[in-house]
C-alpha cells in the first residue's frame, strides 16, 4: 500500500502487448524528496513503466499509485512534470510561447506562467533567445526547454527520460544543479538515464530493470557495495606463514599490491589488527569500489539484450 512517504508505489505491475510481456510484476516504492534512477537496456520496460505511472498506458494487471492517487486519473497528473525521451516540441513556437501554452494546460494563470517562464529560461541558460523559434534551437537548447516545461508548474514529482541527452558538459552541470535544488525543495525526481555516472552522482536510490522485471533496487551504495574491495601494500613481502582469518588476499599486479576481499561481516579494523599481529605495517591502503556501470554490465551480461 502506498504510504505518506511514497510518491510512487507499484505492486505486481504487469503490462503485456499481445504475447510480449513488457513489464512482469514490478513492485516499487519511491520516497518523497528523493532522486530515483531507473536503469535498464533499451526495451527493458523503463518507458512503459513511466507511461503507466503517468496514466498514458493502462496496466494489464497490478496496481500503481502516484502521489497516493490511482494512476490514470486527471488529478494524479496535476502535480507531475514530465520530460519524455526524444521529445518533439512544436517548432512554430518560441520558448516563451510554448511555456505559455503548456502553463495554460496546467491551469496556471497568465501572470504566473509568464513569470515562471522567464525565471526558468534564465536558470536554464535560454535567456536572450526569447524570440527565436524552436526550429532554430540546437538539440541541447531543446532539451533545456523540455526541462523548463516539466518544471513550469512547480510539480511535486518529476519524471525525466534522459534529461541531459544532447546537452554539453556545462549544460549538464547546470541541469544537475537545478535538479538537486529541486530535490532540496522537496521534489521527488524519477530519472531514466543511460548516463550511469550521472545517475550515480544524482540518485539516492536506483533500480535496474531487466526484461520487464526489477533485477536490483537500493541506494547507490547498496547496489555497488557488494563489489567493495581494498588494495593494500605492506612494508615487507608476505610469506606462507601469514594466515588471515579476516580477509582473503590475492596479488594485484607486480608492484607488491594485494587485492583484499574482506570476509563477510568483517570490518577493515579487524584486518588492520590482524596485520599488526603479524608484525606487518601498511605502506598503502585504498578502497576499491565497484561502479554502477560494472553492476549494470554484469546484469546485462547475465540477462542479455531484452526484446
Amino acid at each position: 500500500m502506498p504510504t505518506m512517504h511514497h510518491v510512487v508505489s507499484t505492486r505486481e505491475l504487469e503490462k503485456h502487448y499481445g504475447p510480449l510481456r513488457a513489464l512482469g510484476g514490478v513492485s516499487l516504492d519511491v520516497e518523497r524528496a528523493s532522486v530515483f534512477g531507473l536503469l535498464g537496456q533499451n526495451g527493458a520496460g523503463k518507458t512503459t513503466l513511466i507511461k503507466i505511472l503517468l496514466g498514458m498506458l493502462a496496466p494489464t494487471s497490478g496496481s500503481a499509485h502516484l502521489l497516493g492517487l490511482p494512476v490514470g486519473s486527471v488529478e494524479a497528473r496535476r502535480d507531475v512534470g514530465y520530460l519524455p525521451e526524444d521529445h518533439r516540441l512544436p517548432e512554430y513556437h518560441t520558448g516563451p510561447s510554448l511555456l505559455d501554452v503548456y502553463g495554460g494546460l496546467q491551469g496556471l494563470p497568465r501572470q504566473e506562467r509568464q513569470r515562471r517562464a522567464a525565471e526558468l529560461l534564465d536558470r536554464l541558460g535560454l535567456a536572450g533567445r526569447e524570440k527565436l523559434r524552436i526550429r532554430g534551437y540546437s538539440k541541447g537548447m531543446k532539451q533545456r526547454l523540455g526541462l523548463a516545461q516539466a518544471l513550469l508548474h512547480r510539480p511535486s514529482v518529476l519524471f525525466l527520460d534522459e534529461p541531459t541527452d544532447g546537452v554539453d558538459p556545462v549544460g549538464r552541470k547546470q541541469i544537475r544543479d537545478l535538479l538537486l535544488a529541486e530535490r532540496a525543495r522537496g521534489v521527488t525526481i524519477f530519472i531514466n538515464s543511460h548516463l550511469l555516472g550521472e545517475v550515480e552522482q544524482l540518485c539516492d536510490r536506483v533500480a535496474i530493470l531487466r526484461k520487464g522485471q526489477l533485477a536490483i533496487v537500493g541506494t547507490v551504495a547498496e547496489v555497488v557495495g557488494a563489489k567493495t574491495t581494498w588494495l593494500v601494500a605492506f612494508d615487507r613481502p608476505l610469506t606462507a606463514d601469514h594466515r588471515w582469518s579476516s580477509a582473503q588476499l590475492a596479488p594485484a599486479g607486480s608492484s607488491g599490491l594485494w587485492r583484499l576481499q574482506l570476509a563477510a561481516a568483517t570490518g577493515i579494523d579487524r584486518f588492520l589488527e590482524e596485520a599488526r599481529g603479524h608484525g606487518l605495517h601498511l605502506r598503502h591502503l585504498e578502497q576499491e569500489r565497484g561502479t554502477l556501470e560494472e553492476i549494470y554490465l554484469q546484469l546485462a551480461d547475465a540477462g542479455g539484450p531484452s526484446s
Binding site: 505518506m4 492517487l69 508548474h153
Partner: protein
Amino acid sequence: MTQPARSPADEPAGRPSPLRSCAAILQDTWLAFLDARILWLLVAAIAVLFGVALSARVEPLPSGRPYLDLAARALSADMAGIDLTRDSLAEVAGRLDGSLSWIVAAEPLPADAADGPATAWSVTLARNVVPVVGRLATSDEIAARFGQIPDGRLWTIREIRETTSRMAAATGSQTWELTVDPGPDLRILWPHRFSLFGDSLELSRPEGAPLGLEVFILQKLLSNGIGGTILLLVSVVVTAAFVPTMIRKGTLELLLVRPLPRWQLIVFTYAAALLFVAGLLGLLIFATWLVTGLLTGLWSPGILLALPTLLLFFAMLLSVSVFTGIVTRSAVAAMLVTITTWGVLFVVGLMHMQVVASRMREENAGKPRPVSVADALRPRAASPSGRPRGSAAERTPFHTTTVARIVEAIYAVLPHTEDLDTMVDRQLMRDFAVGGRLRQLMESPDFQWARGVGLAVAHAAAFLVAACAVFTRRDP
C-alpha cells in the same frame, strides 16, 4: 489508503479548467495556423482577386422608356396576388381588366438628366377601355397601380393630373400627366453593363443584366465560388496537419501528461481550427460585401448570413480530417481523404440535382413555363430545335433509372451539401430576389434548410465523437 503523499514543495499556482485548456489550445493552434506559408499565399491570391474585382465598372444602361412602358402595360391587369412563377397563363388572363394603357410621351426630369435608375420622369399616359368589358379608372387607382409589377415596385407617383376631355371619356379614352420617381426595386432590376479593368473586358451582354443579378453573381463568385473554394481548400490543407502533428510521438506525451481528459485535446483543437477558418471566411465575406457595395452602391446584408452556412460545410470536412488524422496519424492521408470526401459530396449532389430536375421536368410537362415580367422585356434566343428546352421527349426520364435510384439512396445518407449550397444562394440573393429567375431559385421545391443543417451537424458530430473514442482508447 492514506492521503496523497504531497511534497512540501510549493503548491502549483493554478487549477486546470476547461476554459484555460481551451484558451491554451487556441493559442497553440493560432501559432500553427500562422506558421503555414500556404495561408499567406492564399491571402495574397484573394487580395489579387479582390483587386481585379475592384477594377470593375458597373454602369446603368438607358432603359427608362422600356420600364415605363412595362409599368403602363401592367396596368391592363390586376396583378395583385399573381405569382408568375406558379400561376398559369389562364389565371393571369383572368385578371385582365379590359383596358390597354401605353406611354404617349416621356421626358427625364430635368430634361438634360441622364437616363438612369435614379432619374424621375414626366410622363403622358393614355388608357383605352374596351366597351362593355372595361371601365374608366380614377387617378387614385392609376397612382396606386402604376409601376407595381409582380417583380417589385418600379415607379412611384409624385404627381398625377388627369387631362381626359369629356368627349374622349365618352369613347373610353383617358390621359394623365404624371411625374414619376424611381421605385424601391427599380435599381435592382435596371440593366447594367459590367466590365473589368476599366472598360477593357466586357463581361455582360450588350443589353446588360439586372443589377441585382450582377451583384448576386459577383458575390457568389467571390465568397462562395473562387474565393470560398480556394479558401476552404487551403484551410483543409492547413488544418489536416493539426491533429497528426499533435499526436506524433514525442509531442503527444507532452500533452497527455497534462491534467485534462484526452477528448478535450481533440474537441478544443477542432474548435480552434474552426474558429480560425471562421475568421478567414468572415474576412472574405466582409471584403466581398465591401467590394460589391463600393462597385454598385448596393449594401446587401444577405451575404453576411452566408458565413454560418459555409462554416458548417467546413465543420463537416474538418471532422472527417480530424478522424482520419487520428486513425492514420498522417497529414497527407487526412488531407486526401477530406478532399476526396468533398469531391464525392459534390458529385453526388450534382447527380442528385439532375434527378430532381428530371422529376420536375416530368411534373411540369405541358404546363406554361414560369416567366418574369422583367425577363419578358429582354429578347430571348430561340431554341435551336424550335421547342422549349426541357420539354424535349426524353428517352427514359433520368429519375426513373437505376443510376438515379442509387444516387438518391447515397444522397439520403450523405450530408446534403446541395441544401447548404442553396442556403448560401438564398442568403446571397435575399435582397435581390425580386426578379423571376432568382425567385425561382429561392423557391426550389427540394430544399429543406433543417434537413441540410441537421445532416451536416450530425455527420460532423459523428466523426468527431468517433475521433475522440479512438484517441481515448489508443496507447500512445
